[in-house]
Symmetry: C3
């Protein structure tokens, strides 16, 4: 349980599982071969959604960064529930960051929001396992006006 220990040492926790919005048709994780695909998640943490709003409207880049960090913790909760132990991850393969931007938000700071997720995953898993491919862009609207949605693919031991 090395990864879960690291999360605690950072003063963080794995958030409780929220039910899927469309629970009858969707799941949070699918395991196929050596890959686990994860549904897009939002900044749920400490029993509630911590941030609502658009980047550049009511949220600062630093708040967006923290929102994405919470998203990464949600991904890790879902992944642990699928594979049992986060130490089984052999590689973080891909992170996609959907950043909910107002027109006035600086395009220089779109990737910075998604860094909140990327930096945590790289810190937890280290340079060779944790660094991942990434795509990030500014979307026009996100569900319930959340500031960021993050989806990911992990490689895990059989």
């Amino acid at each position: 349980m090395i990864i879960e220990e690291k999360i605690k040492k950072l003063g963080l926790e794995l958030p409780e599982v929220r039910p899927m919005i469309n629970a009858k048709s969707c799941v949070k994780a699918v395991h196929t071969g050596d890959l686990v695909f994860l549904s897009g998640v939002f900044p749920y943490y400490g029993g509630k959604y911590k941030y609502i709003g658009k980047m550049g409207s009511n949220l600062t880049p630093e708040e967006g960064y923290e929102a994405a960090r919470f998203c990464a913790l949600n991904l890790l909760t879902e992944l642990r529930n699928m594979i049992g132990d986060l130490d089984k991850v052999t590689k973080v393969v891909q992170v996609t960051g959907y950043v909910n931007v107002a027109p006035e938000y600086s395009d220089e700071k779109i990737g910075y929001v998604t860094d909140g997720a990327s930096d945590l995953l790289a810190e937890l898993y280290g340079e060779s396992r944790g660094r991942h491919t990434r795509t990030s862009f500014g979307v026009f609207k996100l569900a319930r006006n959340f500031p960021v949605e993050i989806s990911a693919i992990f490689e895990v031991k059989k």
Copy 2:
């Protein structure tokens, strides 16, 4: 041909194949390992594109839902043409929904549009095979002003 029978019992059909817009460089499906990746598709059904326009402008959430349902049928046509028989699917892995939203469209109803595809796939394949990971978001512009585009990844038997 259990899945095709189920489609008929729902009063639906697999739409005829449309040529790719850029047929010289793109294909609708690629099979690699146990996965089939499918190109993003639009609501073509009954010999025409059934819906054109933006959510929140000239289309209701219910029309968007049906548009996404037609997209799912297009995905299934392409998948059948690739693997020969829809019963070979062992898992719906991932669905991504690109919802073409006007500024006034409710962010509460973005996922509802994509549900049109998710619900049909889950109904056809059942709880353990059919439920899938999903990401859905509101895009600024889609090709030819279609209301929704859906792409997907399926796992299939060798």
Copy 3:
């Protein structure tokens, strides 16, 4: 080195590697099983970013097409650096095109931009290996106001 020869015959070159914007947490390519996932890339070529701006604002469709072509060359640089030789590619699996559109840009011409990447990959790898699945859509904002971002997945020989 057949593919690299073809690139030269087209009067093109593989651009020099740029450092990742978030080098401490992200990488440009991850190899998992038979697949290589590539991070989204921008139109860097000849030592600089060749195009900045939004489609329909300060750039024509033809300039967007060329920007996407440069993106494809960036993907190929990253891929060669990961697998050593571009001839090891057995299939171009998936291309995703994020097109940075102004409100006045024609939705008829979104896919045309991404064609700049698709056409080059299909030309280099030929019909059976090079044609790929694709999704393309108009995004609201891209990092540093680049006109297009392209990500991709390739299948490679073990």
